[in-house]
């Protein structure tokens, strides 16, 4: 801690040439991670970045920490074995929307239910970047890509809803273009004990440029995004003049200048799984079709429960050394002696 306190972002960077396309959103994410780690008191040598395959998965190479660039979709599994056996390490998983939600979807949801204390960053650019532009499991329907010349017909996952469905203990969203928010979310992820699932909207300016433009561009951002904060009412708009109210289970937009008060609004409570379920569905619940609601960002749900590795080691520690005699183990229960 004390040595770590004097570290700077530079200490977490190395001098490798970065191989992302100029303008790629990955640069910003890398920078925010390098910025927050020293602030969090992380140590270089106790930190491991584990990634799968994809543009995003190149990330570990650019960190001056330990790192593994594994195989497509399996970063979560590799990280699970590492963290289970080495709970002393800070383990970060870096993955793309294809890596974590297409080929790696199964491992992702298992990681979430097991709740190892790792931080999982999903760089969601709604496209396969590295393989040069096919639709991904988060691409919107009807998307025209090289493998879907007439538009994709796959209904996309809602990553936050999927994570909640898999019993994730921490679910949040941020974006590459909002460094301050992203830094805040990275810190929250790091400080959560259990698996932190942080979806990061990331612009792939080569194959899916502008996918998140309405959330990131000044002209539309205020109306299209909703930044949720614990204990605060849900407000948005140029001057926070709009709020979200719950009509039964249905979120609706109200204008605070038109007779609605702050007291009517939905107060964000990260601990409330039911509310979180509604929050993450705000933009794709079929019942809400027609209503246009802003896209929420922030920590949607956070609730600590025991981590896998603590239970794992508690069991071992409770019996370790007891009757741990190798000779006795080899001999087993029944032996006989021939003279």
């Amino acid at each position: 801690m004390s040595t770590a306190a004097v570290l700077t972002a530079k200490d977490f960077a190395n001098d490798l040439d970065i191989r992302w396309c100029p303008g790629c959103g990955d640069y910003s994410i890398l920078k925010q991670v390098q910025t927050v780690l020293p602030q969090l008191g992380a140590s270089i040598e106790n930190t491991v970045f584990v990634s799968g395959i994809g543009c995003s998965s190149r990330f570990p190479y650019y960190m001056n920490t330990y790192g593994l660039h594994t195989i497509h979709g399996r970063a979560t599994a590799v990280a699970s074995g590492l963290k289970a056996s080495r709970p002393d390490l800070d383990v970060w998983i870096i993955s793309g929307d294809g890596d974590s939600m297409s080929i790696g979807a199964g491992h992702t949801i298992h990681l979430l239910r097991r709740n190892l204390n790792v931080n999982m960053l999903v760089f969601n650019n709604q496209i396969y970047g590295l393989t040069k532009g096919q639709y991904s499991p988060t691409s919107e329907e009807n998307k025209i890509t090289k493998s879907s010349p007439m538009g994709s017909i796959d209904h996309p996952f809602n990553p936050a809803a999927l994570a909640l469905g898999a019993d994730a203990s921490f679910v949040a969203r941020s974006m590459d273009r909002d460094p301050k928010h992203l830094q805040e979310m990275l810190k929250r992820s790091y400080n959560h004990k259990g698996t932190s699932f942080l979806e990061i909207y990331q612009n792939c300016n080569i194959f899916n440029d502008g996918a998140f433009e309405i959330f990131t561009e000044k002209s539309s951002k205020k109306m299209q995004t909703l930044f949720v904060e614990q204990g605060k009412p849900l407000v948005f708009g140029e001057n926070n003049e709009f709020g979200i109210k719950l009509n039964g289970f249905t979120p609706t937009v109200v204008n605070l200048n038109e007779g609605h008060s702050m007291d009517d609004l939905w107060i964000h409570d990260e601990k409330d799984l039911s509310k979180a379920s509604i929050l993450v569905r705000m933009f794709d619940n079929p019942m809400l079709e027609g209503d246009h609601l802003p896209r929420p960002f922030g920590v949607f749900y956070q609730n600590e429960r025991p981590t896998y590795e603590s239970a794992f080691h508690t069991q071992i520690e409770s019996v370790k050394g007891k009757k741990a005699d190798l000779d006795a183990l080899i001999a087993g229960k029944e032996t006989w002696t021939v003279a």
């Binding site: 330990y66 593994l68 390490l89």
Partner: protein
């Protein structure tokens, strides 16, 4: 009237009955008693594929074969002397393996109309009564009735519970027949049912009733004695292959001074290793049941990077799934042992039967040039040594190793003169903890004389590095697309595996002369069959030798020369010819195969007659 006692040098008994009849337990008890007495022995259980296959049917038959002897024993035996057949299906399924003139002990209750029908005997036919068994000695015992009668006075137990001790009757009877002491089983029952006095009493009563039945019934004239074997002095235990693998890895971890980490996904017949190791948490063993085979090998790779002796266990389709990640371990040059308990394939195949058909997959079954060390087990107890050896090679050479066992040795048992922990080989593992004198920069892919790179654990200051599956620079380990570097890396990964040949023993002749007419060359679980066959052929004056290969890749350095000393090389395998392909390619020797692909070991009888016919008949 006490029967006369005849001396025999060896006996093969097959216990067969319905899955619910407790035949595995009965066989196990008799085995341990024989072992404690001092016989040499080998066993082979043979379960139905279903959890509880329909009662009374042939697929529902569960069997346990025991070969015990006053001589050395290498296999569970081809044909049995005694067949315990608890029902008609058990008789039908096993009769073909009973020696002519052999003994059948039949539980008549299992031969009623329903049982006969379930066993597919034609309407009205009862083999116990139609004279079809005239060539055998048939002892018909109404075990069910006798069991119930002996429990008439025991209150507090229902009929179903009483009937469950039927197998003790048979066991008691066999103890009488082979003049054995029942203490072992009495102790076992006391321990097992200590807290359930009713059940304990019932079992003890029935066990004794079985013994007494032999003693008092005039029908049974013959008793047998199988004297102790002249096995080497020492302390023994009985061991099954999967047990041996599990404790072998615990031992290896201790010898390497590392924690043992196993990630696995259940699959027959590998699961018992996971079960066993899960029980050894007191040794600090970490076991993780993952969501599938891919996750488990990946978790093990993560644990290996973290500094564990990391292993993963599977079988058949599960091993196929791990192929991609094995490639990653090869590229990362991390230690990892992949244990493959082979079973009948392809695809789901025959999950409960044995086969040696994953060898070529082990050696060649990955994308790209992806060499791995491959090492095989030949008997249940050998699994212990091989687990340690696989760990040693993987840790000292910093590369993944595939360990091949199979369903036959995984579940088969043999007596094992086990070693002392203090006598086990040490495994040298030294983590790199800092730059050495004169070293300016840490080079993750710098190699030692074994071509192994250094193992650096995350948490070590100043040695941060990143590993991955892309081709990497020869020294720095940085991603490299350079053409010549790639060729160099492909060659060095191959050379690293090849060089293991300098660190393993030379190939020995197991039995027979160093030169001669026929060399029978085997690997894996055919060991016992080949050895006993060759021993007999040598005794009969034939020029035959046996060599058995443990190190499948790389092969021992002298193997080629050794083969050239023989006119013929015969390679028996429980597959369609796999090791033979490698031997022919490597040494251009016109080896011939003897292949049996029936989910069972090769029998001495068939192998012997094949050899005589092909090489010694004129």
């Amino acid at each position: 009237m006490s029967a006369t006692i005849e001396k025999l040098s060896e006996v093969v008994i097959k216990f067969a009955g319905d899955s619910g009849d407790g035949m595995q337990l009965t066989g196990g008890q008799f085995t341990n008693a024989a072992a404690l007495y001092g016989n040499d022995l080998a066993t082979f259980p043979d379960y139905p594929a279903e959890i509880r296959a329909p009662q009374g049917t042939i697929p529902g038959v569960s069997g346990f074969q025991l070969h015990f002897s006053s001589n050395e024993v290498f296999t569970p035996g081809d044909f049995c002397d005694v067949l315990v057949a608890m029902n008609a299906a058990a008789l039908k399924a096993n009769l073909k393996n009973l020696k002519k003139g052999g003994i059948i002990i039949a539980n008549t209750d299992g031969y009623d109309t329903k049982n006969l029908r379930l066993a597919n005997y034609p309407e009205g036919v009862n083999p116990l009564e139609d004279g079809s068994l005239d060539g055998y000695k048939v002892y018909k015992i109404d075990v069910t009735r006798l069991t119930r009668e002996s429990l008439a006075e025991v209150a507090g137990l229902g009929m179903k519970e009483k009937d469950r001790s039927k197998n003790m009757f048979v066991l008691g009877f066999l103890y009488w027949m082979y003049n054995r002491n029942m203490d072992f089983t009495v102790n076992f029952l006391n321990e097992k049912f200590g807290k359930k006095p009713d059940i304990l009493e019932a079992n003890l009563r029935v066990l004794k009733a079985g013994y007494n039945y032999g003693d008092t019934t005039e029908t049974f004239m013959n008793r047998y004695d199988v004297p102790k074997a002249k096995v080497g002095a020492g302390t023994y235990r009985s061991i099954m292959g999967n047990q041996a693998i599990a404790i072998g890895f615990v031992a290896a971890a201790q010898q390497a001074n590392l924690p043992l980490f196993l990630a696995s996904y259940p699959i027959t017949p590998a699961t018992d290793i996971l079960h066993d190791l899960s029980k050894y948490k007191n040794f600090g063993v970490e076991t993780m049941q993952c969501e599938d085979e891919i996750a488990s090998i990946c978790a093990s790779i993560g644990a290996s990077y973290g500094g564990n002796l990391a292993i993963t266990t599977s079988s058949g389709p599960g091993i196929a799934l791990k192929g991609e990640a094995m490639g990653l371990a090869v590229m990362m040059e991390l230690p990892l042992v992949v244990v493959n308990i082979q079973r009948g394939g392809p695809s789901t195949g025959l999950p409960t039967k044995t086969e040696q058909a994953d060898l070529l997959q082990a050696i060649y079954g990955r994308n790209g040039e992806c060499p791995m060390i491959v090492i095989s087990c030949s008997t249940p107890s050998d699994c212990f040594d091989v687990a340690i050896e696989a760990s040693r090679l993987s840790l000292e050479h910093m590369t993944p190793v595939m360990l091949l066992s199979d369903g036959y040795i995984a579940n088969g048992a043999e007596p094992w003169k086990f070693p002392k922990a203090a006598d086990l080989p040490k495994i040298n593992v030294k983590f790199k903890k800092a730059l050495e004198e004169g070293e300016e920069k840490y080079l993750p892919y710098k190699r030692n004389e074994k071509l192994a790179r250094a193992w650096v654990l995350p948490g070590t200051p100043d040695l941060q590095h990143r590993l991955g599956g892309l081709e990497k620079d020869f020294l720095t380990g940085a991603v490299s697309y350079d053409a010549e570097n790639h060729e160099r890396m492909v060659k060095v990964r191959q050379e690293k595996v090849d060089r293991v040949a300098d660190f393993i023993p030379e190939q020995k002749i197991e039995v027979g002369a160093e030169k001669g007419k026929v060399l029978v060359l085997g690997w894996g679980s055919t060991y016992g069959s080949i050895k006993s066959t060759v021993l007999e052929l040598i005794a009969e004056g034939h020029s035959v030798s046996h060599a058995h290969v443990r190190y499948m890749n790389p092969l021992p350095k002298n193997l080629g020369d050794l083969l050239k000393q023989f006119d013929h090389v015969l390679m028996p395998e429980i597959n369609n010819g796999q090791f033979i392909k490698i031997v022919r390619d490597k040494f251009l020797v016109d080896a011939k195969g003897y292949n049996k692909i029936q989910g069972t070991p090769i029998s001495k009888t068939e192998l012997k007659s094949f050899i005589i016919e092909n090489y010694f008949s004129k």
